[in-house]
């Protein structure tokens, strides 16, 4: 039986890497005087596990961390504020609760990608993106350390459950629900596919934000 945290990672904290974030949590638990279960073995250390690693530079409002409260006198509702106070800027713990749904049921992630055109967005970008995402298949090369060639080929289309496009004068926002794991889709691939297909519409910058995580039926995962 494990416990879970729901937290967000935004602002300056976006740049904390996955491994550094785990270490940050281990220390934050100690700073907040919340004792947590340790791993067993020769070098026991506080056990924490992040459900779905987030790329460096992405923000998120729906991160899940698994751990085990070792001290049952601590109330679940006290954990968020105590832990948040012990965190670097940008990490806010929202909820602490016993686990329910299995992590393998975490099926989809809703990402908000913001394509920025500070000089003004070309009108055609909207249809270009629509065209791209409406294709039958969209095969891109993905870097892989395991594959002999140094990359593998993935078809993005079956990994995108649904999407929505919203455009403003200087931005194009893609709201995409994509496969979370086995295999998951990093929305960076959508950006690079767009830039490759439409080099004339390469945006100045793209931000990525995880808005929600969902189970197989499309309901919110906690």
């Amino acid at each position: 039986m494990a416990d879970r945290l729901l937290f967000s990672k935004t602002g300056r904290a976006k740049y904390i890497s996955h491994l550094d974030l785990m270490r940050t949590f281990q220390r934050a638990f100690a700073r907040a005087h919340i004792s947590i279960k340790h791993t067993e073995g020769f070098h026991p250390h506080p056990f924490v596990s992040i459900a779905l690693p987030l790329s460096v530079g992405y923000s998120s409002q729906c991160e899940i961390l698994e751990f085990g409260l070792a001290d049952h006198s601590i109330l679940y509702e006290d954990v968020p504020y105590r832990l948040t106070a012990a965190m670097p800027e940008g990490i806010v713990v929202h909820q602490c609760y016993p686990d329910g749904q299995k992590l393998k049921d975490l099926a989809y992630v809703d990402y908000i990608m913001n394509f920025e055109y500070p000089e003004g967005r070309p009108q055609e970008t909207e249809t270009a993106m629509q065209q791209l995402l409406c294709r039958e298949s969209l095969i891109v090369k993905k870097k892989s350390n395991k594959a002999k060639l140094g990359y593998t080929e993935v078809d993005l289309i079956p990994l995108i459950r649904n999407w929505n496009l919203e455009c403003q004068s200087d931005t194009m926002t893609v709201d995409a629900v994509v496969s979370a794991q086995n295999p998951g889709l990093n929305p960076e691939l959508i950006r690079s596919a767009f830039c490759q297909s439409f080099p004339e519409f390469i945006p100045d910058f793209v931000t990525f934000h995880r808005r929600e995580i969902l189970n197989r039926t499309g309901d919110i995962f906690r």
């Binding site: 974030l21 270490r23 340790h38 250390h45 670097p88």
Partner: protein, 614 residues
């Protein structure tokens, strides 16, 4: 966060180094503070964040409501490239504001190979390198740290240097700066007043005058400056009343010394004749063990660190070490907090102490005999007997340790081939000790012998000595390598000679070397302590372009009468004492440690009452 920065960060390695926002980072409202200070460390975030001095000064300044001290480190090459391309000026990590807008920019100088980073950081901040080209009072460029005991190679770039420990003097010059600002002083007016503060060396008030042979004739005091004949270093007189940082910035990414650092005492009772730290940090001043235990616990509570290290120049010389370890272990052990103890002397390494440390985690074991024979160890006053070292190894191997690192120097004054080969003999004796005493022979043993090339340092008994020529150093390395060739359990590592040669040039260099620094920087020198960036040929070209001979600085024996570039800097360890120590070296005679008998170095006069608490 700044938009430009946000666009750059996804393109660089380890971006968390450049964002700030860490736990305990101090953010103040800039309109409510009078003085903004950029505490700059001229190396990467990982190195600079590990520096205890910076942790102390950050806390000392930020305790004052009207001062906001921010941190600033040298960006790695990829980040620098992006910053220059996007026109992003070097900024303070806390606010993200360019440090050129700050009041004071202070550099911590710990090693000579970081000098080009000082120039590079000034340039990245958009500031003129030379003090003379910065006519305004603001921003002031200040430098402190061990390297400032010979400030001359950086003299033209820095407005003033701070000698010694910064806890008190930092606030003193900030207060003076605040007065200067309120009363609209010019930079010159400010520096005239600053030079009156003890411990402040204003380089523009001292003019080096050279003899025909290139040596110094004198460091002339600028007329009317009122600058002191000798600038005496500052020390904290009572370690129990001085500031200790229990609340430090906890990095969100890994740094070099990612742990609680507990400073046991300052100074060192030993008096090794090559050791600059051992001389310039005198006199010895201990911290109270109860207080230390409290600091240690408070630091762990606040940081969440799972590791604590006891730091000092020679931790086993701390009089209450066992008491302190016991006290700390009672706290650490149940919480799985590791306690490590570097700077152990092999002679006092007791079974008792080892058992205590083993209660939590077993770190590596490192000893620094420095020289291979008793004769040479006596000559450098490293009062360590072979029997003591072997006894320590016996204890360690019997207790389950299966690796030991041994550090030596090659090229020490009076060294002969016999001394070099003595290193191999000593390493072999350590190996045989292992065979005899190990509790588990099947596991094998790793004995690592490392040698560095001795660099004579200012303010030491060897400040008059020549560094041996590089060919001779290479020959001695080869001699030792051949001698150790057949010992499979002994690994031999040696320092590459190129950086040690440059260190020898700059550590005792004069003001003319500033041109060399500037030339090298203009031709791309930076991060010279990193092999990725270090380019020896560039430095040779820089010396040639400035018409200077590196050997003149590194390999020349100085006479007793020579005027040194650091002659205006006073550590209160007298020159006659250092000369006496040098003569004793040539007679291979030792000097007892300060606790056994006072040798009259002179540093005790810095304490009221004149008695060290060695």
């Amino acid at each position: 966060m700044n938009r430009t920065l946000e666009h750059i960060l996804p393109k660089v390695q380890k971006p968390a180094r450049y964002t700030g926002g860490e736990y305990n980072a101090v953010v103040k409202e800039k309109h409510t503070v009078k003085t903004r200070y950029a505490l700059c460390f001229p190396d990467t975030y990982e190195i600079g964040m590990s520096n205890l001095g910076c942790r102390i000064l950050y806390g000392v300044m930020n305790q004052c409501p009207d001062i906001w001290c921010e941190r600033c480190f040298a960006p790695w090459g990829d980040m620098e490239e992006e910053m220059r391309r996007e026109g992003l000026l070097l900024y303070g990590l806390e606010s993200g504001d360019p440090i050129s807008d700050f009041d004071i920019i202070g550099f911590s100088l710990g090693y000579e190979m970081a000098y080009t980073n000082v120039l590079n950081m000034l340039d990245l901040a958009g500031l003129p390198l030379r003090s003379a080209n910065r006519s305004e009072l603001t921003p002031l460029i200040v430098a402190g740290g061990t390297c400032c005991y010979n400030p001359e190679p950086l003299a033209p770039f820095v407005d003033f240097f701070v000698l010694g420990e910064g806890e008190d003097v930092t606030l003193e010059y900030i207060r003076l700066y605040q007065q200067a600002q309120e009363e609209c002083w010019s930079k010159e007016e400010f520096l005239l007043e600053a030079a009156k503060i003890e411990g402040i060396y204003v380089p523009s008030f001292y003019d080096p005058i050279y003899n025909a042979d290139g040596t110094l004739s004198q460091m002339a005091i600028k007329e009317g400056s009122g600058a002191p004949e000798r600038v005496v270093k500052r020390i904290v007189t009572d370690m129990d009343k001085s500031y200790f940082p229990t609340k430090t910035v906890i990095p969100s990414t890994e740094i070099v010394h990612d742990r609680v650092m507990l400073e046991l005492f300052r100074g060192c009772i030993r008096g090794c004749r090559f050791c600059q730290a051992g001389y310039v940090y005198r006199p010895v001043r201990n911290r109270n063990p109860q207080l230390l235990a409290e600091y240690g616990k408070a630091s762990c509570e606040d940081s969440g660190y799972q590791e604590m290290t006891l730091s000092s120049l020679s931790s086993t010389d701390y009089p209450c070490l066992l008491e302190l370890c016991d006290n700390l272990l009672d706290y650490c052990a149940p919480r799985d907090i590791g306690l490590s103890l570097p700077s152990l002397r092999a002679d006092t390494f007791s079974m008792n102490l080892m058992e205590r440390l083993q209660r939590v985690r077993k770190g590596g074991l490192t000893f620094a005999p420095e020289a291979g024979t008793q004769r040479l160890r006596d000559a450098i006053n490293k009062n360590l007997r072979e029997e003591d070292l072997l006894q320590s190894c016996r204890t360690a191997f019997a207790g389950g340790w299966s690796g030991v690192k041994l550090y030596f120097m090659l090229g020490l004054p009076t060294e002969t081939d016999e001394d070099v080969l003595g290193i191999a003999d000593l390493a072999r004796k350590v190996y045989f000790t292992w065979r005899e005493y190990t509790s588990n022979r099947a596991r094998g043993v790793r004995i690592t012998v490392s040698t560095s090339w001795f660099v004579p340092k200012p303010h030491t008994a060897f400040q008059w000595e020549a560094q041996i020529p590089v060919s001779e150093y290479q020959r001695r390395v080869n001699l030792l390598r051949d001698a150790l060739k057949r010992d499979k359990s002994i690994t031999y590592n040696w320092h590459d000679p190129e950086t040690s040669y440059l260190e020898a040039i700059f550590s005792r260099g004069d003001r003319r070397l500033a041109n060399v620094l500037e030339w090298a920087w203009e031709h791309g020198a930076k991060m010279d302590s990193w092999t990725e960036y270090f380019d020896y040929q560039r430095w040779m070209d820089a010396l040639a372009a400035c018409g200077l001979d590196g050997d003149f600085y590194a390999h020349r024996q100085r006479s007793r009468e020579e005027v040194f570039p650091w002659c205006r800097v006073d550590t209160k360890v007298s020159s006659s004492f250092l000369w006496r120590e040098r003569e004793l070296c040539y007679k291979s005679q030792t000097t007892p440690d300060c606790r056994t008998r006072c040798s009259g170095c002179g540093a005790n006069c810095l304490l009221s009452g004149g008695v060290c608490n060695g």
